[in-house]
């Protein structure tokens, strides 16, 4: 019976893994943000699955989904803001070029 839950959870976990890979491997700010989006998508799948199959009576799960969606949206917004500022200052949003500050 729990197979349904497991399918959803495994999907979420794999999305999380892909997201982590993306966040760590990409050199471009925007691509890193995509990785983050995927991690959050994994979280969404998890949340909905947990709500649906374990705690349908607890609507804070659904609330959490809304919050996560907000996070996705606002992070993207500010992320693009930062990207614009960076692009204006340096002409690139490559992470590897951002190594003036260190030590």
């Amino acid at each position: 019976m729990t197979a349904v839950l497991i399918v959803a959870l495994v999907t979420g976990a794999i999305l999380f893994g892909i997201g982590v890979y993306g966040a760590l491997s990409q050199t471009n700010l925007v691509m890193i943000m995509m990785g983050v989006e995927l991690v959050l998508a994994g979280a969404l799948v998890n949340l909905v699955a947990f709500w649906r199959f374990l705690h349908p009576e607890s609507y804070s799960g659904q609330m959490f989904v809304l919050v996560v969606m907000t996070v996705m949206a606002v992070e993207m917004a500010v992320g693009f803001g930062v990207a614009i500022a960076r692009f204006r200052a340096r002409g690139s949003v490559e992470m590897e070029e951002a190594e003036d500050l260190k030590g």
Partner: protein, 632 residues
Amino acid sequence: MSAVVLPVLPPLLAALAVLLLRRGGAVLALAGVIASLAGSLWLLARVADGQAETLLLPGLPDMPLRLVAGPLTALLTVAVATVGTFVLIYAVGYMKREFSQARFYAVMSLFLAAMQALVLAGDWVLLLATWELIGLCSYLLIGFWFQRPEAANAAGRAFLYTRSADLGLYVAVFMLIGWTGTSEIATSLEAGGSASTAAGLLLLLAAMGKSAQVPLQDWLMRAMAGPTPVSALLHSATLVAAGAILLIRSFPLLTPEALLAVGVVGGVTTVAAGVIALAESDLKRLLAASTASQYGLMLIAVGAGVPLAALLHLLAHAAIKSTLFLAAGDFQHAREGTGFDRLEGVGRARPWAFAGFALAALALAGIPPLSGFFSKDAVIAAALSAQGAAWLGPLALAGALLTSTYMARALRLLWQGSGETGAVAGSTWMRAGIWGLVIPAAALGLAFGPIEGILDLPTREAEGTGAVLLGLLAAVVGLALGWLVSAPRLLGPVYPWAQRGLAVGGGLTAGVGRPAMAVARGCEHLEGHLYAAVLGVGRGGLMIARGGERLEQGLYSAVLGFGHINLAVAHLVRVGDERRIDGLIFALVSGVRALGARARTLQSGLIHHSLAISAVATAVTLVILFLASLSF
């Protein structure tokens, strides 16, 4: 206020008054000492019947200071005050030309007060305190002419020798207080016991220091650098006498083993010091050696179990030796020196002084009916009747023989030669002082009977005729030898060695002083290392030291790869080996700094590196927690 303070207080007040007023030193000091003499006599009269006078003063908690006057101690105060009086009278003349008279009289008065307090001390704390105080006073007096390097050295040496020996007194006192729970001398003397051998030996050590017994005799000779009245006082009734007095007073405590040791020390000293005296080329130094020798005789008497004999000799010697010194001071002023080469024939020029000197010398040699005859016979008789008579007797006789020999030699050297000399300032005072003391020196022997009567010391057996004859023989033979034969011929091969004070391998100074300095330098060396080490830590903390790049490199590679660790360790060891402890510390310090630098390189500025490190750390945390949860 008990009468017991009477001998102590006047000189003490005199000392303070002189210090404060800074003038009229002679008058005040004389007044003080004469008052002290009067007080002593009165005290003696009061306690002659054996009724002790006691005074308690606040001291340490549960250990009040006590002044106790019994017949013995009262008698000693009289002796001290008498000698003190005449010496001060003499000093008025002797010191006439000196500056800093106030200092002289103040310290002399303090000295007398301390000595009186020492004699009267009824508890160990006060005894110890006054014991050390007379050491201080002698330091100040011997070093009176502190600008002269030899006086400064002599003063320091005297203080250091006696103080080192005093440690024995300290420990002995602690032991006695520990056993008996009280610091009262009378009580603790009764305690006795088997373990008191140790205490006795320690007391002997202290007495040896003060009474200049072999091997601690060196300081006494050098102490001649001080003014002559000081020597007279020092040698007769005060500093040096303190040692013998201590042993006489603590006689009940001395076990046979301790007595044996006392006898041996006395015997060796009397002979050795006698030989040194014989070889001396300076009158005052000769007298100093003689003092040591005479105290050796007293120790023989104590060792033989007859403290009374020692006491009698102490009294007689006090009068005699002060006379001799005072006369020597007179000669010194006449010829501006005390070497025999300068003093040739001075006796003819200063007949009064010489007469006093000669009388005292004969008394010391033991010519009847002068005081020394009686006291020395008492000592010889004690030695001959003691348990170790077989060796104590000959030693005592040898001491007596040497005594008369060197005295005769001194007389000869002073008499022969041309008798021209200048006038001596203040000689009236000096003459008064000398002759005031000649009288007891000559006649004290007659008073020995009554003195014995009032003392509570163990009585002695009647002297055998043999002892008297042997003593007389020694005296006469000695005088003859001394007058007729020169010292180098008498001593033969020993003479040069004796001139150096019979010093073995550089003497005590070398034997103790050099190792002490070596230890001190060792400490200082260690200090340097410790300091450098700590400083290294401090520096490293501050990162002031910008060195250590090599080591940093080594540590860096050590962190990078396990294979490099050996290298780094080897490097560390080598560095540690080269620079020892401070080097190691420095290495440690640079290590911390290198660690800091390494920590900094973690911050590469590349965000994906940072994220990777964070991710690894997260994974590690997760694994740790998983494992931990499995074990729960």
